[in-house]
């Protein structure tokens, strides 16, 4: 009788403990960021592995998402004789939603999982303990540069995603399907607002960058130090950060684009 109740309580307690650990962890990591100004090389090396190595998947998927939008949008709009609005459709969907969201999802799969696995393995092989023994704070030396690199990389990746997506949509819409070149760009420039659309899209991707990287480094740091534990932590990173991105996206959209 009391057994299930007890296990429920234990699960609840451990959930909230973990939540609290995660927030304290974020606080320590953020406190360690200012010191990185003195050692930019640490951050640069992480931007390489987090951002530059994600570039290919972002470029390829951005192009194809833009091309699909162009194709689908054209066939829908042509029924209403509004195929000239294709540029607006492609640009707004990319800048507001797909750019930040899809690149955050890809980023979670490509870079987030790698971060978790790397930090988790460092923990499993006691490298983090070794650092602590040498009076090097692993949170500042290992986690903070990765966190900062993630936050800096994702907005840039999202911007690249949107830009190549628009070019992909242009290629399909104008070059293949014959939408008017001038109308494509001028309607787009008429309807896409710098602050309302593009700046809000960037804010979204900064938020996603913070959340995805936070989940990734925390899962790695908090992983059970066995090979199985690291594997589980990696899975959790991808699942939790994808869910967080999609949930937050709804929230941010509701806040930003109500007008």
């Amino acid at each position: 009788m009391l057994g299930p109740l007890q296990s429920l309580g234990r699960q609840g307690l451990s959930f909230f403990q973990r939540l609290g650990r995660g927030h304290l962890f974020l606080l320590y990591v953020v406190a360690g960021i200012p010191a990185l100004v003195l050692r930019p090389r640490l951050v640069i090396a992480q931007i390489w592995s987090v951002g530059v190595l994600s570039l290919l998947i972002i470029l390829v998927s951005g192009t194809f998402v833009g091309m699909v939008l162009g194709l689908q949008g054209y066939h829908t709009l042509v029924d209403f004789g509004a195929e000239e609005s294709l540029g607006v459709l492609v640009a707004l969907s990319l800048v507001r939603e797909l750019g930040p969201v899809v690149s955050a999802l890809l980023f979670a799969g490509r870079a987030g999982s790698a971060l978790t696995a790397e930090i988790g393995l460092m923990k499993a092989t006691e490298q983090l303990d070794g650092m602590a023994m040498m009076a090097v704070d692993p949170l500042r030396r290992v986690v903070a540069p990765r966190f900062l690199a993630g936050i800096l990389s994702l907005p840039l990746l999202a911007a690249i995603f949107s830009a190549v997506g628009v070019v992909g949509g242009y290629f399909v819409g104008v070059s293949l399907l014959g939408v008017d070149d001038g109308a494509f760009w001028s309607q787009m420039q008429d309807k896409v607002d710098l602050l309302d659309d593009i700046a809000n899209g960037i804010i979204k991707s900064v938020v996603f960058g913070i959340v995805v990287t936070w989940i990734a480094v925390f899962e790695g740091f908090d992983a059970v130090p066995t090979s199985e534990g690291v594997g589980r932590a990696t899975t959790r990173t991808v699942v939790h950060s994808s869910l967080a991105v999609l949930g937050l996206d709804f929230l941010l959209t509701a806040l930003m684009f109500t007008g």
Binding site: L156, L157, A163, L194
Partner: protein, 163 residues
């Protein structure tokens, strides 16, 4: 000791990150300049004129102002004058279109059947031209589709009663 290959690797990493950041900012720049309306802000130096309308329908800020179908400016601001119960629309006209006659009339038109609304100018015959701060006297309100249908269905006489 730092080996030669290690130095090469650091160099590759730094160059790679440099290229990545450059591409990222180039993408942002492209989004700002090519995709958004920033380019219309930049060459928006011009002069402002005002026009009162009884009903602006669905006119929005940044809607185009055209003359003979050519875009010559945009709607900058829409206010409501509570003394005369009319909408006051501030229009920003591009500087190079500086020879618009004073008695030009402005009407709110619709692009296509259900398209968005814009302001069309019809040139008058005055020798004087509109300048900063001038007001357009002859205006024509937007055609509200429901009123038009109502007039059509109930005839002109009963159309007045519903107000």
């Amino acid at each position: 000791m730092i080996s030669r290959s290690e130095i090469m690797h650091t160099k590759t990493v730094e160059i790679g990150v440099g290229i990545f950041v450059a591409i990222g900012f180039a993408a942002l720049f492209m989004l700002a300049m090519q995709v958004s309306n920033l380019s219309t802000f930049i060459n928006a130096d011009g002069y402002e004129i005002k026009a009162n309308f009884q009903n602006i329908g669905g006119l929005k800020v940044r809607a185009p102002v055209t003359m003979a179908g050519v875009r010559i400016g945009q709607v900058k601001q829409i206010d409501f004058d509570s003394d005369i119960y009319e909408a006051v629309v501030t229009l920003s006209i591009f500087a190079k279109f500086d020879r618009i006659p004073l008695d030009t009339s402005a009407s709110i038109l619709t692009a296509g059947l259900l398209g968005e609304q814009y302001i069309g100018f019809d040139a008058g015959g005055e020798e004087e031209y509109l300048r900063e701060g001038d007001q357009i006297m002859l205006t024509q309100s937007a055609v509200v589709l429901e009123q038009l249908i109502g007039q059509f269905m109930f005839g002109q006489g009963s159309g007045d009663k519903k107000e």
